[in-house]
Point group: C2
DNA sequence: GGAGGGAATTTGAACGATCAAATCCCGCGT
DNA sequence: ACGCGGGATTTGATCGTTCAAATTCCCTCC
């Protein structure tokens, strides 16, 4: 393959100077119509394309965003993040941004990777996912001055009214509220199958169920299991043996929903089970589930990071009211 | 955040020249011990890191590889690719390479994205996945001189003995052979549940079943369905109504396996079903499945692209015997 | 016909790294 | 004491783009 043409080559062919070519590409309106067309023709003829590295060097801007690819941990979830990463890649591309991915197994390793990328000027910003209470990444990135945003709200330390960093999250409580409202159409005893208390996400989703039940003047049992199909199955099997009964079960995740379904089916019972995440498994097995709309999350993330339409990461003031977005999920009934 | 330090800053602090700093980083052995340590100390003190764009510009090499993120299409599969992308990101990082991802919905769009990246010198090579017979991407990338490798063999046009491009694939026939051998322990009537003929992958996997059956002197029925749980379920339900019977079913994918399981369960039947892909769903529902080992595929891909240990993409001669790798999958029994 | 002025275009410099060639340094042999 | 050799280090040039300042162009108006 021949050497790629440069602005200089295009300029020579069009009979103009380097800078005019640059202007045609960056500020077309200051170039005279006739000239512009001549240059565009030359660009087209040579198949010219800006050399990304040269541009980045000069502009002191990489136009790239770093995001972690989660390790495969097995289990039924994870698809939400994969969809999110895909969506954010699409949206970023529309704004002339690239997505640079990295792999990390621990938060510490993730910070190493991010420092590398940031200090090497490979990325203009970072997107972190799965934030937890007192997330070390938030502290460190802030200290390093890395523009970043999280998919997942900052459980605990900071607040919607007084945000410390940008974030976008899914309104879990709204999701389980919708799920519970639907479940109530099968009877008033709607159970909640959640994770052990303490996780922000899990507690939030449980709150939705509690609120919807209170609104309906109903009440129902609460089951608990760790996030995995086998543990969920055991928990429900044990509960059934102990006399558990309900008209429907709202679950904190599709994994627990699958476990519940398997346990019920084994016990020869059949009541509606509603999951969370709307994973392919939910679709495959045909149970209802709450859809997180990762595509909307992606859009919101880029808007907070780059403004409504910009194509540059703007290190914006984190100020109340414009520092976060809460996406309302949607119940998919099956 | 202050401006990032440059080689010049480090040089000043260490009392040496720019180039010596560069040498410490790139060819440490030609720098005198004492000098090297002084420079390293300065680097450390300033927290210096090479500016990636400047380096790429000068080296005329991006040290990045492009790979597509598949759109979310629903269905039970896709996890294999996600695991693969994650693994290749890890391996690439170990060799000092970055992974740049892009989204595309069609092969044509993928080629557009890749041309952009390649012509803009943003990537040194590309990895394409899911090749089909007469894949347009192979032709075009070859014509453009883009170094690339595919996860998926070039069904049809070219051959192991006379390769036209680099590829790595999973030996599907070996997978179904193993699955069938295991299935035969339940009885000699082992059915195969596959896709309609014509897809390279599907035919390859069917061949494995056929061979294993022939070896055992057994024979069994063959069912067909498109790749989706509902169609699979319908196909099996219909077959059962028509008197279908078998001691076990070997499936071309986990989707079909799930469909078969649902149909069997609904009909009150229970025979072993073996899937392919070892997706989380297989794990969740507890059926055996063939594991594709995407991590091994990732390793093989980078070895073909960059040599056994190199950290540069070497546009290597595509020559018989060194142009491909066939990964042997593993049956996970549950 | 020439001055004035704004738009269009060109030139010089810079971004930060590395290669290639030039220079420096030091010990050694004569 | 001087020159030589070879390793260590420095200097100059370059990668391709864009910014800033300088220059040229073209039209209007007196």
């Amino acid at each position: 393959m021949a050497k790629a043409p440069t602005v200089e080559d295009v300029a020579a062919l069009a009979g103009v100077s380097r800078q005019t070519v640059s202007n045609v590409l960056n500020t077309p309106d200051i170039v005279r119509e006739a000239t512009r067309e001549r240059v565009l023709r030359a660009i087209d003829e040579l198949g010219y394309r800006r050399h990304a590295a040269a541009r980045r060097l000069r502009l002191r801007r990489s136009s790239a965003i770093g995001i972690r690819l989660d390790p495969y941990v097995g289990g039924v979830s994870g698809v939400v993040l994969d969809r999110f990463v895909h969506a954010v890649t699409e949206r970023a591309s529309e704004r002339g941004m690239r997505m640079l991915v990295y792999a990390a197994r621990t938060p510490a390793e993730e910070l190493d990777r991010l420092s590398e990328l940031w200090e090497g000027s490979e990325i203009d910003a970072a997107i972190i996912t799965g934030t937890v209470r007192d997330d070390p990444r938030v502290r460190t990135l802030d200290a390093q001055g890395v523009p970043f945003i999280s998919f997942g709200r900052p459980w605990g330390e900071d607040d919607i009214a007084d945000p410390l960093h940008l974030w976008v999250d899914v309104d879990g409580a709204a999701g389980t509220r919708a799920a519970t409202a639907h479940a109530l159409s099968f009877g008033h005893r709607v159970a909640f199958f959640g994770w052990p208390s303490g996780s922000g996400t899990g507690d939030d989703r449980e709150r939705g169920w509690r609120e919807a039940m209170a609104d309906a003047g109903a009440d129902g049992p609460r089951l608990v299991a760790e996030e995995s199909v086998p543990t969920a199955r055991e928990a429900v099997t044990a509960a059934l043996a102990a006399g558990f009964d309900a008209d429907a079960i709202v679950c904190v995740s599709d994994s627990l929903a699958v476990g519940a379904l398997v346990a019920l089916s084994t016990a020869g019972r059949s009541i509606p089970v509603i999951g969370f995440d709307n994973t392919p498994t939910a679709e495959a097995l045909g149970f209802s589930s709450v859809e997180q709309r990762p595509e909307d999350v992606a859009t919101a993330i880029l808007e907070l990071l780059m403004g409504p339409t910009g194509d540059v990461v703007v290190p914006r003031q984190v100020r109340p009211g414009a520092a976060h977005a809460l996406i309302v999920p949607e119940l998919v009934v099956r």
